[in-house]
């Protein structure tokens, strides 16, 4: 029997704000697996999974043998295509870091500084050393244009085609905004759909919502 420390849910919430829910979940799952093995990962899911359903999904894929997320940005780079401006809606640092490694420096990148978790945005942006600019929910449209793309992260897609995304996506991408950006891209960060009610997320029809679902 493993003995995970109390307060993991609070710790995970704190980290999820500045890393993203999937990125933070992988950090925690790896750390628990290192010290407590798969039994500890199962216990982590039991203790925290219902509150942080992305963690639940990550523990399931870990226990199924997946040891690292697929963060290959090639298809996202392809979806961005000739866009010269990319506005990122939501944050997943494991994926965003890989994307920034591959994107030409001529492509400007901004991050919408908004989260359901408390976040020190200055600290988040400092990690990108000027490569990523800050925009807010009420100003990101200054980046709109015929060569601009919106990118968000999706948390699994079910068999019926519905994908879980951050509520922020719906707040950002209204009917007006859809026609202000040439590409509306979702980068799926979970290899399996969510099993639990998508707390903290909303479900959308992936095909109708996005021009590219990667």
């Amino acid at each position: 029997m493993t003995e995970l420390p109390p307060g993991l849910d609070q710790a995970l919430s704190a980290v999820a704000g500045e890393l993203g829910m999937a990125s933070a979940s992988w950090v925690f799952v790896r750390a628990v697996a290192r010290s407590e093995g798969d039994e500890g990962v199962s216990e982590l899911a039991e203790k925290v999974g219902a509150e942080l359903v992305v963690l639940d999904a990550v523990t399931r894929v870990w226990l199924a043998g997946e040891r690292a997320p697929d963060t290959d940005p090639a298809k996202v780079v392809e979806a961005i295509g000739k866009a010269t401006r990319v506005v990122v809606v939501g944050l997943e640092v494991e994926w965003l870091d890989r994307l920034l490694d591959e994107l030409p420096s001529s492509v400007k990148v901004a991050l919408v500084a908004h989260s359901a978790f408390p976040v020190d945005w200055q600290r988040v942006l400092d990690n990108y050393a000027g490569r990523v600019e800050r925009v807010d929910l009420d100003t990101f449209q200054t980046w709109a244009g015929g060569k601009s793309a919106l990118l968000t992260f999706a948390y699994g897609r079910a068999e019926d085609g519905r994908a879980a995304v951050l509520p922020l996506w719906l707040r950002a991408c209204g009917a007006d905004v859809r026609a202000q950006f040439r590409a509306l891209i979702a980068w799926n960060v979970l290899s399996a759909p969510l099993d639990l009610y998508p707390r903290r997320l909303v479900e959308v029809d992936a095909e109708e919502t996005f021009t590219h679902f990667v």
Binding site: T139, G146, R178, A179, Q180, R182
Partner: protein, 153 residues
Amino acid sequence: MSHSRASSSAAFVDAARIDALLASIVPDGEDRAFVVRCILGEGPVHHRGANYVLLVLLGQLVEKLGASNVAALRARGTLPVPIKVPPHLERPQSLMSYPLPLPTGPLESLAPAGSPDQAAMVDCLNDGPPQHALANAAMMWLIGAALTHLEKP
């Protein structure tokens, strides 16, 4: 008033057909995909369907006339179709515009170039949501191609 009963489906819309129709006007595939989505994939269903019907029929007219030379029309002048954002969010020194411009040549039969009337016509054609403004521009290209062909000596 709901339009759902009269126009609940635009299943007849074949985006590939409009994409092909605009290929010579907007040569870049990604640019064209953006324009086609705005015309056929955004906004109310009845607008999407109406845009499709009018563009396909105008395309048929142009095809039957053999009026495919858009270069001549482009040479007569175009104006950008702006991407509208709230005024305080417009980027200074950077016009936000769609990759499909509005050809002004056809308007010269209605009002001289540079006249207030022609400027007002351009405003009317560019006004409204993008599915209107871009469909207007696309139709102007097709009407312009037909008229240019018919005006040939």
